[in-house]
Symmetry: C2
DNA sequence: AACTGAATCTGGACGCCGTAAAGATACATC
DNA sequence: GATGTATCTTTACGGCGTCCAGATTCAGTT
Protein backbone atom coordinates (compact mmCIF):
# COMPACT_ATOMS: atom_id res chain seq x y z
CA UNK A 1 0.00 0.00 0.00
CA UNK A 2 2.98 2.29 0.15
CA UNK A 3 2.20 3.95 -3.18
CA UNK A 4 4.42 7.04 -3.09
CA UNK A 5 7.79 5.90 -1.95
CA UNK A 6 9.16 8.99 -3.63
CA UNK A 7 10.45 10.61 -0.46
CA UNK A 8 13.97 10.13 0.78
CA UNK A 9 12.81 7.71 3.47
CA UNK A 10 12.29 4.94 0.95
CA UNK A 11 12.82 2.07 3.34
CA UNK A 12 11.97 -0.98 1.28
CA UNK A 13 10.12 -3.77 3.01
CA UNK A 14 13.08 -6.05 2.53
CA UNK A 15 16.17 -4.53 3.95
CA UNK A 16 18.77 -6.02 1.69
CA UNK A 17 21.40 -7.01 4.22
CA UNK A 18 19.73 -6.74 7.58
CA UNK A 19 22.16 -9.13 9.21
CA UNK A 20 25.06 -6.82 8.45
CA UNK A 21 23.01 -3.78 9.48
CA UNK A 22 22.12 -5.36 12.82
CA UNK A 23 25.72 -6.13 13.66
CA UNK A 24 26.71 -2.58 12.77
CA UNK A 25 23.85 -1.16 14.82
CA UNK A 26 24.90 -3.29 17.78
CA UNK A 27 28.48 -2.05 17.55
CA UNK A 28 27.26 1.53 17.28
CA UNK A 29 25.20 1.13 20.43
CA UNK A 30 28.10 -0.56 22.19
CA UNK A 31 30.43 2.31 21.46
CA UNK A 32 28.03 5.13 22.25
CA UNK A 33 25.92 3.79 25.11
CA UNK A 34 27.83 0.84 26.45
CA UNK A 35 27.00 -2.83 26.98
CA UNK A 36 24.13 -2.18 29.38
CA UNK A 37 22.15 -0.50 26.61
CA UNK A 38 22.65 -3.34 24.16
CA UNK A 39 19.19 -4.90 24.00
CA UNK A 40 17.90 -6.75 21.00
CA UNK A 41 15.06 -4.27 20.75
CA UNK A 42 17.45 -1.34 20.84
CA UNK A 43 19.50 -2.90 18.06
CA UNK A 44 16.39 -3.40 15.96
CA UNK A 45 15.32 0.17 16.67
CA UNK A 46 18.74 1.48 15.68
CA UNK A 47 18.54 -0.50 12.45
CA UNK A 48 15.06 0.89 11.79
CA UNK A 49 13.31 -2.42 11.95
CA UNK A 50 10.71 -4.19 14.09
CA UNK A 51 11.74 -5.97 17.32
CA UNK A 52 11.06 -9.39 15.83
CA UNK A 53 12.95 -8.87 12.58
CA UNK A 54 16.35 -9.99 13.94
CA UNK A 55 14.96 -13.45 14.54
CA UNK A 56 15.11 -14.15 10.83
CA UNK A 57 18.89 -13.73 10.93
CA UNK A 58 19.86 -14.86 14.43
CA UNK A 59 18.43 -17.66 16.55
CA UNK A 60 18.38 -15.42 19.60
CA UNK A 61 20.14 -12.48 21.17
CA UNK A 62 23.13 -14.63 22.03
CA UNK A 63 23.77 -15.46 18.40
CA UNK A 64 23.78 -11.78 17.49
CA UNK A 65 26.25 -11.13 20.29
CA UNK A 66 28.36 -13.98 18.97
CA UNK A 67 28.51 -12.30 15.59
CA UNK A 68 29.50 -9.01 17.19
CA UNK A 69 32.10 -10.73 19.36
CA UNK A 70 33.50 -12.47 16.32
CA UNK A 71 34.19 -9.15 14.68
CA UNK A 72 35.92 -8.09 17.86
CA UNK A 73 38.20 -11.08 17.79
CA UNK A 74 38.97 -10.40 14.15
CA UNK A 75 39.94 -6.81 14.91
CA UNK A 76 42.06 -7.93 17.85
CA UNK A 77 43.75 -10.45 15.60
CA UNK A 78 44.67 -7.78 13.11
CA UNK A 79 45.94 -5.43 15.79
CA UNK A 80 48.22 -8.14 17.13
CA UNK A 81 49.34 -9.10 13.64
CA UNK A 82 50.33 -5.51 12.96
CA UNK A 83 52.08 -5.25 16.33
CA UNK A 84 54.04 -8.45 15.71
CA UNK A 85 55.12 -7.48 12.21
CA UNK A 86 56.05 -3.93 13.09
CA UNK A 87 58.20 -4.91 16.05
CA UNK A 88 61.77 -3.68 15.58
CA UNK A 89 63.19 -7.06 16.55
CA UNK A 90 61.92 -10.54 17.38
CA UNK A 91 62.97 -9.80 20.93
CA UNK A 92 60.75 -6.76 21.12
CA UNK A 93 57.77 -8.52 19.58
CA UNK A 94 56.50 -10.06 22.79
CA UNK A 95 55.87 -6.89 24.76
CA UNK A 96 54.45 -5.27 21.64
CA UNK A 97 51.94 -8.08 21.33
CA UNK A 98 50.92 -7.65 24.95
CA UNK A 99 50.54 -3.91 24.71
CA UNK A 100 48.57 -4.24 21.47
CA UNK A 101 46.22 -6.67 23.17
CA UNK A 102 45.59 -4.48 26.17
CA UNK A 103 45.29 -1.32 24.10
CA UNK A 104 42.64 -2.96 21.94
CA UNK A 105 40.70 -3.86 25.06
CA UNK A 106 40.98 -0.34 26.45
CA UNK A 107 40.03 1.27 23.16
CA UNK A 108 36.97 -0.92 22.71
CA UNK A 109 35.98 -1.73 26.28
CA UNK A 110 32.36 -2.50 25.53
CA UNK A 111 33.23 -4.75 22.62
CA UNK A 112 35.86 -6.51 24.71
CA UNK A 113 33.32 -7.17 27.42
CA UNK A 114 30.90 -8.70 24.96
CA UNK A 115 33.67 -10.90 23.58
CA UNK A 116 34.52 -12.35 26.97
CA UNK A 117 30.97 -12.44 28.24
CA UNK A 118 30.05 -14.77 25.42
CA UNK A 119 33.19 -16.83 25.93
CA UNK A 120 32.48 -17.25 29.64
CA UNK A 121 28.87 -18.16 28.97
CA UNK A 122 30.04 -20.90 26.65
CA UNK A 123 33.11 -21.65 28.77
CA UNK A 124 35.22 -21.67 25.64
CA UNK A 125 37.13 -19.24 23.48
CA UNK A 126 36.23 -19.11 19.79
CA UNK A 127 37.84 -21.98 17.96
CA UNK A 128 39.48 -19.89 15.27
CA UNK A 129 41.64 -18.23 17.91
CA UNK A 130 43.73 -21.39 17.97
CA UNK A 131 43.69 -22.21 14.30
CA UNK A 132 46.08 -21.09 11.62
CA UNK A 133 49.35 -19.25 11.66
CA UNK A 134 47.64 -15.90 11.85
CA UNK A 135 45.55 -16.66 14.91
CA UNK A 136 46.33 -14.60 17.97
CA UNK A 137 47.06 -17.64 20.09
CA UNK A 138 49.48 -19.21 17.63
CA UNK A 139 51.18 -15.90 17.00
CA UNK A 140 51.74 -15.52 20.73
CA UNK A 141 53.18 -19.02 20.93
CA UNK A 142 55.50 -18.50 18.00
CA UNK A 143 56.62 -15.16 19.38
CA UNK A 144 57.45 -16.84 22.65
CA UNK A 145 59.63 -19.31 20.76
CA UNK A 146 61.34 -16.49 18.92
CA UNK A 147 61.98 -14.87 22.30
CA UNK A 148 63.72 -17.94 23.60
CA UNK A 149 61.09 -20.39 24.82
CA UNK A 150 61.94 -24.06 24.36
CA UNK A 151 60.02 -25.36 21.35
CA UNK A 152 60.77 -28.97 22.18
CA UNK A 153 58.57 -28.87 25.28
CA UNK A 154 55.05 -28.64 23.90
CA UNK A 155 53.29 -28.69 27.25
CA UNK A 156 55.57 -26.03 28.70
CA UNK A 157 55.12 -23.96 25.59
CA UNK A 158 51.37 -24.15 25.84
CA UNK A 159 51.47 -23.27 29.53
CA UNK A 160 53.65 -20.26 28.81
CA UNK A 161 51.32 -19.13 26.05
CA UNK A 162 48.38 -19.44 28.40
CA UNK A 163 50.33 -17.54 31.02
CA UNK A 164 50.89 -14.73 28.54
CA UNK A 165 47.22 -14.70 27.62
CA UNK A 166 46.22 -14.61 31.27
CA UNK A 167 48.50 -11.68 31.97
CA UNK A 168 47.18 -9.73 29.01
CA UNK A 169 43.54 -10.45 29.78
CA UNK A 170 43.99 -9.68 33.42
CA UNK A 171 45.64 -6.37 32.66
CA UNK A 172 42.97 -5.59 30.08
CA UNK A 173 40.26 -6.00 32.68
CA UNK A 174 42.04 -4.52 35.66
CA UNK A 175 44.05 -1.81 33.98
CA UNK A 176 41.09 0.51 33.74
CA UNK A 177 40.39 0.67 37.45
CA UNK A 178 40.66 4.03 39.11
CA UNK A 179 43.03 2.73 41.75
CA UNK A 180 45.83 2.82 39.20
CA UNK A 181 45.24 6.32 37.86
CA UNK A 182 48.12 7.70 39.91
CA UNK A 183 50.50 5.16 38.39
CA UNK A 184 49.47 6.06 34.86
CA UNK A 185 50.15 9.66 35.67
CA UNK A 186 53.49 8.90 37.29
CA UNK A 187 54.59 6.77 34.34
CA UNK A 188 53.33 9.17 31.69
CA UNK A 189 50.26 7.59 30.16
CA UNK A 190 48.24 4.44 30.02
CA UNK A 191 50.41 2.61 27.55
CA UNK A 192 53.50 3.22 29.65
CA UNK A 193 51.63 1.81 32.60
CA UNK A 194 50.73 -1.32 30.64
CA UNK A 195 54.32 -1.71 29.57
CA UNK A 196 55.41 -1.26 33.17
CA UNK A 197 53.13 -3.98 34.41
CA UNK A 198 54.32 -6.36 31.71
CA UNK A 199 57.93 -5.60 32.53
CA UNK A 200 57.34 -6.34 36.19
CA UNK A 201 55.71 -9.63 35.41
CA UNK A 202 59.24 -10.95 35.80
CA UNK A 203 59.46 -9.80 39.40
CA UNK A 204 56.27 -11.66 40.08
CA UNK A 205 57.48 -14.71 38.19
CA UNK A 206 60.80 -14.76 40.06
CA UNK A 207 58.83 -14.54 43.28
CA UNK A 208 57.02 -17.62 42.13
CA UNK A 209 59.82 -19.79 40.99
CA UNK A 210 63.21 -19.54 42.59
CA UNK B 1 -6.12 -10.16 59.45
CA UNK B 2 -3.94 -13.23 59.77
CA UNK B 3 -5.83 -14.53 62.81
CA UNK B 4 -4.60 -18.14 63.00
CA UNK B 5 -0.89 -18.05 62.47
CA UNK B 6 -0.77 -21.34 64.31
CA UNK B 7 0.59 -23.36 61.39
CA UNK B 8 4.25 -23.97 60.84
CA UNK B 9 4.41 -21.36 58.09
CA UNK B 10 4.29 -18.51 60.60
CA UNK B 11 6.02 -15.94 58.47
CA UNK B 12 5.67 -12.77 60.50
CA UNK B 13 4.94 -9.58 58.63
CA UNK B 14 8.28 -8.21 59.65
CA UNK B 15 11.04 -10.51 58.65
CA UNK B 16 13.58 -9.77 61.31
CA UNK B 17 16.72 -9.54 59.23
CA UNK B 18 15.57 -9.37 55.66
CA UNK B 19 18.79 -7.76 54.50
CA UNK B 20 20.77 -10.78 55.62
CA UNK B 21 18.15 -13.13 54.18
CA UNK B 22 18.26 -11.41 50.80
CA UNK B 23 22.02 -11.69 50.53
CA UNK B 24 21.83 -15.36 51.46
CA UNK B 25 19.04 -15.94 48.97
CA UNK B 26 21.07 -14.24 46.27
CA UNK B 27 24.08 -16.42 46.99
CA UNK B 28 21.89 -19.52 46.97
CA UNK B 29 20.54 -18.58 43.55
CA UNK B 30 24.03 -17.81 42.30
CA UNK B 31 25.33 -21.22 43.30
CA UNK B 32 22.39 -23.25 42.07
CA UNK B 33 21.19 -21.42 38.96
CA UNK B 34 24.05 -19.12 38.02
CA UNK B 35 24.35 -15.38 37.48
CA UNK B 36 21.83 -15.23 34.64
CA UNK B 37 19.05 -16.25 37.03
CA UNK B 38 19.95 -13.63 39.62
CA UNK B 39 17.07 -11.17 39.31
CA UNK B 40 15.90 -9.00 42.15
CA UNK B 41 12.48 -10.59 41.89
CA UNK B 42 13.96 -14.07 42.06
CA UNK B 43 15.89 -13.11 45.17
CA UNK B 44 12.76 -11.73 46.80
CA UNK B 45 10.88 -14.89 45.81
CA UNK B 46 13.61 -17.07 47.27
CA UNK B 47 13.47 -15.08 50.51
CA UNK B 48 9.68 -15.46 50.59
CA UNK B 49 8.94 -11.78 50.26
CA UNK B 50 7.31 -9.40 47.81
CA UNK B 51 9.25 -8.02 44.81
CA UNK B 52 9.37 -4.53 46.30
CA UNK B 53 10.51 -5.50 49.77
CA UNK B 54 14.24 -5.39 48.99
CA UNK B 55 14.00 -1.68 48.29
CA UNK B 56 13.77 -0.99 52.00
CA UNK B 57 17.24 -2.45 52.46
CA UNK B 58 19.01 -1.68 49.17
CA UNK B 59 18.76 1.38 46.96
CA UNK B 60 18.57 -0.78 43.85
CA UNK B 61 19.66 -4.11 42.47
CA UNK B 62 23.22 -2.91 42.14
CA UNK B 63 23.49 -2.25 45.84
CA UNK B 64 22.34 -5.77 46.63
CA UNK B 65 24.92 -7.12 44.22
CA UNK B 66 27.51 -4.95 45.94
CA UNK B 67 26.66 -6.56 49.25
CA UNK B 68 26.92 -10.02 47.71
CA UNK B 69 30.20 -9.12 46.03
CA UNK B 70 31.55 -7.79 49.29
CA UNK B 71 31.01 -11.14 50.93
CA UNK B 72 32.83 -12.70 48.04
CA UNK B 73 35.84 -10.46 48.53
CA UNK B 74 35.80 -11.28 52.22
CA UNK B 75 35.81 -15.01 51.52
CA UNK B 76 38.59 -14.59 48.98
CA UNK B 77 40.54 -12.59 51.52
CA UNK B 78 40.28 -15.36 54.06
CA UNK B 79 41.24 -18.03 51.55
CA UNK B 80 44.38 -16.10 50.67
CA UNK B 81 45.15 -15.43 54.30
CA UNK B 82 44.98 -19.13 55.04
CA UNK B 83 47.10 -19.94 51.99
CA UNK B 84 49.74 -17.41 53.00
CA UNK B 85 49.94 -18.57 56.59
CA UNK B 86 49.97 -22.26 55.78
CA UNK B 87 52.72 -21.97 53.23
CA UNK B 88 55.70 -24.16 54.20
CA UNK B 89 58.15 -21.31 53.54
CA UNK B 90 58.07 -17.64 52.61
CA UNK B 91 59.39 -18.73 49.25
CA UNK B 92 56.45 -21.03 48.66
CA UNK B 93 53.91 -18.46 49.76
CA UNK B 94 53.63 -16.69 46.43
CA UNK B 95 52.44 -19.60 44.29
CA UNK B 96 50.17 -20.69 47.12
CA UNK B 97 48.53 -17.29 47.09
CA UNK B 98 48.00 -17.48 43.36
CA UNK B 99 46.56 -20.95 43.44
CA UNK B 100 44.28 -20.02 46.34
CA UNK B 101 43.02 -17.05 44.35
CA UNK B 102 42.28 -19.05 41.25
CA UNK B 103 40.79 -21.95 43.17
CA UNK B 104 38.39 -19.59 44.90
CA UNK B 105 37.30 -18.24 41.55
CA UNK B 106 36.81 -21.72 40.13
CA UNK B 107 34.92 -22.94 43.20
CA UNK B 108 32.58 -19.95 43.21
CA UNK B 109 32.45 -18.97 39.54
CA UNK B 110 29.11 -17.19 39.73
CA UNK B 111 30.11 -15.23 42.80
CA UNK B 112 33.41 -14.33 41.21
CA UNK B 113 31.62 -13.04 38.13
CA UNK B 114 29.38 -10.83 40.24
CA UNK B 115 32.40 -9.47 42.09
CA UNK B 116 34.14 -8.38 38.91
CA UNK B 117 31.00 -7.32 37.11
CA UNK B 118 30.35 -4.79 39.83
CA UNK B 119 33.97 -3.70 39.86
CA UNK B 120 33.99 -3.16 36.11
CA UNK B 121 30.73 -1.25 36.23
CA UNK B 122 32.26 1.08 38.77
CA UNK B 123 35.70 0.90 37.17
CA UNK B 124 37.22 0.37 40.58
CA UNK B 125 38.02 -2.46 42.93
CA UNK B 126 36.53 -2.25 46.43
CA UNK B 127 38.57 0.08 48.56
CA UNK B 128 39.10 -2.33 51.42
CA UNK B 129 41.09 -4.59 49.11
CA UNK B 130 43.96 -2.15 49.45
CA UNK B 131 43.61 -1.25 53.10
CA UNK B 132 45.14 -2.94 56.09
CA UNK B 133 47.72 -5.65 56.53
CA UNK B 134 45.18 -8.39 55.98
CA UNK B 135 43.90 -7.13 52.65
CA UNK B 136 44.53 -9.37 49.68
CA UNK B 137 46.42 -6.72 47.78
CA UNK B 138 48.76 -5.84 50.65
CA UNK B 139 49.33 -9.48 51.44
CA UNK B 140 50.34 -10.07 47.84
CA UNK B 141 52.71 -7.13 47.93
CA UNK B 142 54.32 -8.24 51.19
CA UNK B 143 54.65 -11.77 49.93
CA UNK B 144 56.43 -10.46 46.86
CA UNK B 145 58.89 -8.68 49.14
CA UNK B 146 59.43 -11.82 51.14
CA UNK B 147 60.11 -13.62 47.87
CA UNK B 148 62.83 -11.17 46.95
CA UNK B 149 61.22 -8.10 45.40
CA UNK B 150 63.00 -4.82 46.06
CA UNK B 151 61.06 -2.95 48.78
CA UNK B 152 62.93 0.28 48.15
CA UNK B 153 61.30 0.72 44.73
CA UNK B 154 57.67 1.52 45.53
CA UNK B 155 56.54 1.98 41.94
CA UNK B 156 58.18 -1.23 40.82
CA UNK B 157 56.69 -3.01 43.77
CA UNK B 158 53.25 -1.80 42.94
CA UNK B 159 53.65 -2.74 39.30
CA UNK B 160 54.77 -6.22 40.28
CA UNK B 161 51.81 -6.60 42.60
CA UNK B 162 49.47 -5.53 39.83
CA UNK B 163 51.20 -7.96 37.52
CA UNK B 164 50.55 -10.75 39.98
CA UNK B 165 46.92 -9.73 40.32
CA UNK B 166 46.52 -9.63 36.54
CA UNK B 167 47.99 -13.07 36.14
CA UNK B 168 45.71 -14.49 38.81
CA UNK B 169 42.58 -12.81 37.51
CA UNK B 170 43.36 -13.76 33.95
CA UNK B 171 43.86 -17.38 34.90
CA UNK B 172 40.71 -17.31 37.01
CA UNK B 173 38.67 -16.22 34.03
CA UNK B 174 40.40 -18.21 31.34
CA UNK B 175 41.29 -21.34 33.25
CA UNK B 176 37.79 -22.72 32.97
CA UNK B 177 37.65 -22.78 29.20
CA UNK B 178 37.22 -26.11 27.54
CA UNK B 179 40.24 -25.59 25.32
CA UNK B 180 42.47 -26.41 28.27
CA UNK B 181 40.72 -29.56 29.43
CA UNK B 182 43.37 -31.74 27.82
CA UNK B 183 46.10 -29.94 29.75
CA UNK B 184 44.31 -30.44 33.04
CA UNK B 185 44.07 -34.09 32.28
CA UNK B 186 47.69 -34.35 31.22
CA UNK B 187 48.88 -32.56 34.35
CA UNK B 188 46.60 -34.43 36.72
CA UNK B 189 43.90 -32.01 37.76
CA UNK B 190 42.85 -28.42 37.65
CA UNK B 191 45.05 -27.23 40.49
CA UNK B 192 48.13 -28.72 38.89
CA UNK B 193 47.21 -26.92 35.70
CA UNK B 194 46.94 -23.63 37.57
CA UNK B 195 50.28 -24.23 39.21
CA UNK B 196 51.75 -25.05 35.82
CA UNK B 197 50.55 -21.82 34.29
CA UNK B 198 51.94 -19.83 37.20
CA UNK B 199 55.26 -21.59 36.94
CA UNK B 200 55.49 -20.80 33.25
CA UNK B 201 54.73 -17.16 33.84
CA UNK B 202 58.51 -16.89 34.05
CA UNK B 203 58.96 -18.14 30.50
CA UNK B 204 56.58 -15.47 29.35
CA UNK B 205 58.29 -12.85 31.48
CA UNK B 206 61.72 -13.78 30.17
CA UNK B 207 60.30 -13.50 26.66
CA UNK B 208 59.25 -10.01 27.59
CA UNK B 209 62.35 -8.68 29.19
CA UNK B 210 65.73 -9.88 28.06
C1' DA C 1 3.17 -12.14 -17.59
C1' DA C 2 0.81 -14.61 -14.04
C1' DC C 3 1.18 -18.16 -10.37
C1' DT C 4 3.38 -20.21 -6.50
C1' DG C 5 6.29 -21.08 -2.65
C1' DA C 6 9.86 -19.34 0.23
C1' DA C 7 12.09 -15.64 2.51
C1' DT C 8 11.59 -11.52 5.03
C1' DC C 9 9.35 -8.12 7.85
C1' DT C 10 5.31 -6.23 10.92
C1' DG C 11 2.05 -6.15 14.80
C1' DG C 12 0.58 -7.92 18.76
C1' DA C 13 0.95 -10.83 22.63
C1' DC C 14 3.07 -13.25 26.79
C1' DG C 15 5.69 -13.46 30.86
C1' DC C 16 9.61 -11.70 32.95
C1' DC C 17 12.32 -7.81 34.60
C1' DG C 18 13.58 -3.29 37.60
C1' DT C 19 11.43 0.19 39.92
C1' DA C 20 8.08 3.57 41.89
C1' DA C 21 3.86 4.99 44.60
C1' DA C 22 0.32 4.23 47.86
C1' DG C 23 -1.66 1.62 51.32
C1' DA C 24 -1.47 -2.02 55.08
C1' DT C 25 0.80 -3.85 59.16
C1' DA C 26 3.84 -4.26 63.06
C1' DC C 27 7.16 -2.23 66.25
C1' DA C 28 8.99 1.40 69.44
C1' DT C 29 8.51 5.06 72.30
C1' DC C 30 6.11 7.91 75.11
C1' DG D 1 -2.97 3.07 74.91
C1' DA D 2 -1.75 6.55 71.16
C1' DT D 3 1.30 7.92 67.75
C1' DG D 4 5.05 7.94 64.62
C1' DT D 5 8.23 5.17 61.99
C1' DA D 6 10.06 1.27 59.79
C1' DT D 7 8.81 -2.55 57.19
C1' DC D 8 6.20 -5.15 53.92
C1' DT D 9 2.33 -5.74 50.14
C1' DT D 10 -0.28 -4.44 46.22
C1' DT D 11 -0.60 -2.45 42.11
C1' DA D 12 1.21 -0.34 38.20
C1' DC D 13 4.42 1.26 34.39
C1' DG D 14 7.65 0.73 30.77
C1' DG D 15 11.26 -2.18 28.82
C1' DC D 16 12.98 -6.64 27.87
C1' DG D 17 13.43 -11.43 25.04
C1' DT D 18 10.71 -14.23 22.41
C1' DC D 19 6.92 -16.37 19.87
C1' DC D 20 3.02 -16.39 16.52
C1' DA D 21 -0.05 -15.04 12.85
C1' DG D 22 -0.36 -12.26 9.05
C1' DA D 23 1.43 -8.97 5.46
C1' DT D 24 4.80 -8.08 1.97
C1' DT D 25 8.30 -8.98 -1.31
C1' DC D 26 11.42 -11.98 -3.95
C1' DA D 27 12.72 -15.99 -7.06
C1' DG D 28 11.65 -19.50 -10.00
C1' DT D 29 8.41 -21.98 -13.01
C1' DT D 30 5.37 -22.07 -16.62
Amino acid sequence: MRETESAAEARPYHHGDLRRALIDAARRILETKGPAALSLRAVAREAGVSPAAPYHHFKDKGELLDAVADEGWRILNEAMKAAGENAPSPRAAMPSLGVAYVCFAREHPALYRVMYKRSRDKEALPEHLHEGEDSAYCRTRDTLIAAGADPSDPVGLELATIAAWCAAHGLAEIGGFQQFAHLKEALGGEEAFFRGVFEHMGVFARGLND
